[in-house]
Amino acid sequence: MHPYLAGSEDRRRMLEAIGCSSVAELFRTLPGEVRCGELELPRGRSEEEVRREFWALAGRNLAPDCAASFLGAGVYQHVVPAVADALLQRGEFFTAYTPYQPEVSQGTLQAIFEFQTFVCQLTEMDVANASLYDGATAVVEAVLMAQRLAPGRKRVVVASTLHPDWRAVLDTYCEAMGLTVTATPRDSQGRVDADALAAALGQDVSAVVVQSPNFLGVIEDLPVVGKIAKAVGALAIQAVAEATSLGLLAPGGRFGFDVVCGEMQAFGIPAAFGGPHLGFFAARRACLRQMPGRLVGETVDSQGERGFVLTLSTREQHIRRAKATSNICTNHGLMALAATIVLSLLGRRGVREVALASHAKAEYLKAGIRELMKGDVGVRLAFPESPTYNEFLVLHDDPERLLARLQDELILGGVATTQFGDMFPRGFLVAATEKNTKADCDRLLGALRRPA
């Protein structure tokens, strides 16, 4: 007996109706060689016992809210309105599936249509899909789309300042597809070296990928990069890891980019130890037929009422199969709903205010570190002259030791670049958002000021 299953009387009546004496008969087609004995798992537990086990597991972690946290590097901690989760917990949203039957799925469909609209507004692009898994796979899908649009071109050029995890995932997929991925270096200011980029491009390049703000926090010169990419007819792709930056910074859509894609976790999605997050994908209208992912479109019903449906499905795997624009089926619909709710709450003013506040907190920290630099305590801004949004690189000879000392004071000071090999200067990335208090910022600066 179990609360999630039917009861013994249900079973008895069904077996009688079927004409079987036991459930075992229904498995008669399974040969002995595939059968197993009792599973090597504990017996079933009550809810209270499950709570205890998971509470204990949670207790062995340090939740960032218990510390002053300045962690970023692709996952950002913003203020999330209380009502967002309350709405997400409505069973009508989270226990439904993909809206294959639109007449009884208008809630999901309209919310996705609103999500697609928000993404287009933030990126200044024509079309956006209903979500992808995360920023890394969104970039991959953009590159593979570039490939379909220019089948003869086999090379992809990416900025060396693309998030290293995203680059790693791109490498995995591109190797299988027979594509070469080359990196283009940064200059001394932490930005894509425009001359090196121009030199690296040719008629064999299908896509150019630039992240802005980049992995080191620096805002790229998108107009320049876009122009260089389009000059060779490559697909220009802007990757975004901190989506709230779109509240302050002009998006690639304004500078001739073909795709703006990436990670929308910053708009209300919990960090959740790395997932599920929210990949977003927006592109020019000309790319529409080659776009990956679900698309929701507006239409009317037989009585002329407005309604929404999944559309342009012939691109997708369930119809196009081996020739589909992506293999994606289940995407991250509930996370897209979460972002839609949060973006609705923030709205015109809030999207701007969050961006300005995040930027302001980071500028405050940078100013504090500039002061520290006068005293030579071993920390320096890596790119003091470069514009940043809410994240920046601080140079230090032994960032892991420094961060460990800060941990003892319940400060999560940043993400050491040393864990990514020697791709980046030695130091740590510091991210700030509207969630960080001035007191916490001062604690970080105070801790950095003290000698080791």
């Binding site: 037929r289 499905s313 012939t314 119809i319 196009r320």
Partner: protein, 129 residues
């Protein structure tokens, strides 16, 4: 509607009409019925050379994609531009305004294809799916 006798047919439900070195290709009444409402047509670029039986383009309904196979060897002269904004022409007038592709062909290109009577027999025998 009876399939017009002034053209030839394939086992993959295309029709072709040849006249003075040019072939016009479309899909049959049966094909458009099976496909349902056409929503999008992917046309080949002018100048593309195709051998008999190769894929010329695709015709899409809401729930299916159908490949258009060329009944004849030749070089694409052009596609029916009207289909971009009016794909429904294929449903409404598959033998007339709903033509899909024109090709430059050599003499005898349509040799060996079925005539209208043979095609109708084929469809009746195929019986549906």
């Amino acid at each position: 509607m009876a399939d017009p006798s002034d053209r030839f047919y394939t086992h993959t439900h295309e029709w072709v009409q040849v006249s003075g070195g040019q072939a016009t290709v479309g899909i049959t009444q049966y094909a458009q019925e099976q496909l349902g409402d056409v929503v999008f047509v992917e046309l080949p670029p002018a100048g593309k050379k195709v051998g008999k039986g190769e894929v010329l383009g695709t015709i899409e309904s809401v729930k299916a994609v159908s490949e258009l196979f060329t009944p004849v060897t030749g070089e694409v002269a052009g596609g029916n531009a009207a289909l971009e904004s009016h794909p429904e022409l294929i449903n409404q007038d598959p033998y007339g305004a709903g033509w899909v592709v024109k090709l430059k062909v050599a003499a005898g290109a349509a040799d060996g294809l079925m005539d209208a009577a043979a095609y109708e027999k084929f469809v009746a025998e195929e019986g549906g799916h």
